[in-house]
């Protein structure tokens, strides 16, 4: 077994070279995730956990959602829920001020970390190398093949496991460049101070209450992503997958017999 930590991305600048994969063998340990990616991943895990649970605590203060500029008890709510239970809110006992302190402490750290990571992954080649769709990947037949492989839980083996497949790419791009920025922008739109500073935010989302609704929906879309993400990690081999997100080193899966 070769353990040399070969760089997967020797050929970052040139996709054609990349396509010619170095001679990896199954069970090789290869470097997979950069330090920046790993730090950002675990920081996000912590911050999104705090943001989601404290966000539910804030939502409990007025568990109704509206579309448009205004919305209060006498107006039509498109969604009305009971309060979320204490085991999923931060803090467990209803305390709006403390939920807000948690949320508004974590939010700027989360926002600036995302901004940094977006710039780093765009400028450093992570997006171009690992996330951008390759020619032919978006062809219906290819996408369908990928869906079928996922449905049959046929995960790629050997060096092929190092490349994200089209569904993975699509979901990572959607989370990184759509869902997470949307959460931040709709969160800012709920701030009356930010409304005075950047009035275009309110116009962008069609009103403060619309922004609050989109904030809530996006948060739950992210929970859906999280559940699928957990399922995929469990199915693909949790020790190897989680280990690689901690150490950066990934053991290439053996070929299926």
């Amino acid at each position: 077994m070769r353990t040399a930590a070969m760089r997967l991305d020797i050929s970052t600048k040139d996709n054609r070279v990349m396509a010619m994969e170095p001679p990896y063998a199954p069970e090789d340990m290869v470097r997979r995730h950069r330090l920046t990616t790993r730090l950002w991943h675990w920081l996000n895990a912590l911050l999104l956990y705090i943001l989601f649970t404290s966000g539910l605590g804030i939502f409990n203060a007025h568990p109704r959602l509206y579309w448009g500029q205004y919305g209060a008890n006498f107006d039509h709510a498109w969604l009305e829920l009971d309060r979320f239970p204490g085991w999923i809110t931060l803090p467990a006992l209803y305390n709006l001020a403390l939920s807000r302190h948690w949320h508004l402490t974590a939010a700027p750290i989360f926002a600036f970390a995302l901004l940094f990571y977006m710039l780093w992954s765009l400028a450093g080649g992570h997006v171009a190398r690992d996330l951008a769709f390759r020619r032919g990947e978006l062809a219906p037949r290819h996408v369908w093949q990928d869906i079928c492989d996922h449905a049959r839980l046929r995960f790629p083996t050997g060096a092929a496991a190092l490349r994200y497949n089209v569904l993975q790419k699509a979901s990572y791009i959607a989370v990184l460049f759509i869902a997470l920025p949307l959460l931040i922008l709709t969160g800012l739109t709920m701030s009356p101070g930010m409304n005075a500073a950047w009035p275009w935010l309110v116009d962008l989302f069609g009103g403060r209450q619309s922004a609050r609704s989109i904030h809530f929906l996006t948060a739950f879309a992210l929970v859906a992503f999280f559940l699928v993400h957990m399922l995929m990690v469990l199915l693909a081999g949790p020790v190897n997958e989680i280990g690689s997100m901690i150490t950066g080193r990934y053991r290439l899966p053996r070929d299926r017999p």
């Binding site: 939502f59 807000r100 005075a196």
Partner: protein, 248 residues
Amino acid sequence: MILTRRTLLLGATATLAGCDRIARQPLARDILFSADNFHAWAQRTIMARDALAQEFRPEQISPFFRANGTANPNTPAYKALWRSGFADWRLRVDGLVARPLSLSLSQLHALPHREQITRHDCVEGWSAIGKWRGVPLKLLLDGAGLRDRARYIVFHCADDMGGGTAYYESIDLIDAFHPQTILAFALNDRPLSVANGAPLRLRVERQLGYKQAKYLMRIEAVESLLSIGRGKGGFWEDRANYDWYAGI
């Protein structure tokens, strides 16, 4: 690895209990509670000092304006004022001013007005849009003549929040002199109702609802908030750790 719903529930609860324990540590509290300073600084940095809160068209007004906070002060003193149609009510302007004022409602009506259709945002998450008419706070502060040492404007209210403590709030001079900061006596072309703060309430449009002090009795210019209430500048700030800067 089998994750049951029970394990997940226990895990989530244990982690959140950990967060709750963290929130009781003095250092963690200091960090959590000072995020407000960062937001205030960041917002003030990117925002022009007189940047206006959004104003809306008449057709965007909420069909029913939900009142926030106290619905009726119900104290004997307030009831007596209300019965007389607030004829005996006076607004005092004092503290660090050169010329303390005492103004009746009709004197306030005679001053120049500003009218604005703005959105009221409650800290709980709801919003209501209403048309306010009132006297710019700047006019009164200029009339009373702020002393150089004055840094904050404190609003003393008539609603008893229990134990004889009346509601109070405060803002700094940037918000006090902001063109949209008015002492409103009318909502949607009608004199303020009791639920909405009759006879006079503050509108400080770039901040949340609990800053919009109702049932105003006295406006005091001070150098520091430490001597007001328990020192954090407002009733909910002192009682429930709400942020003093409520632009978020």
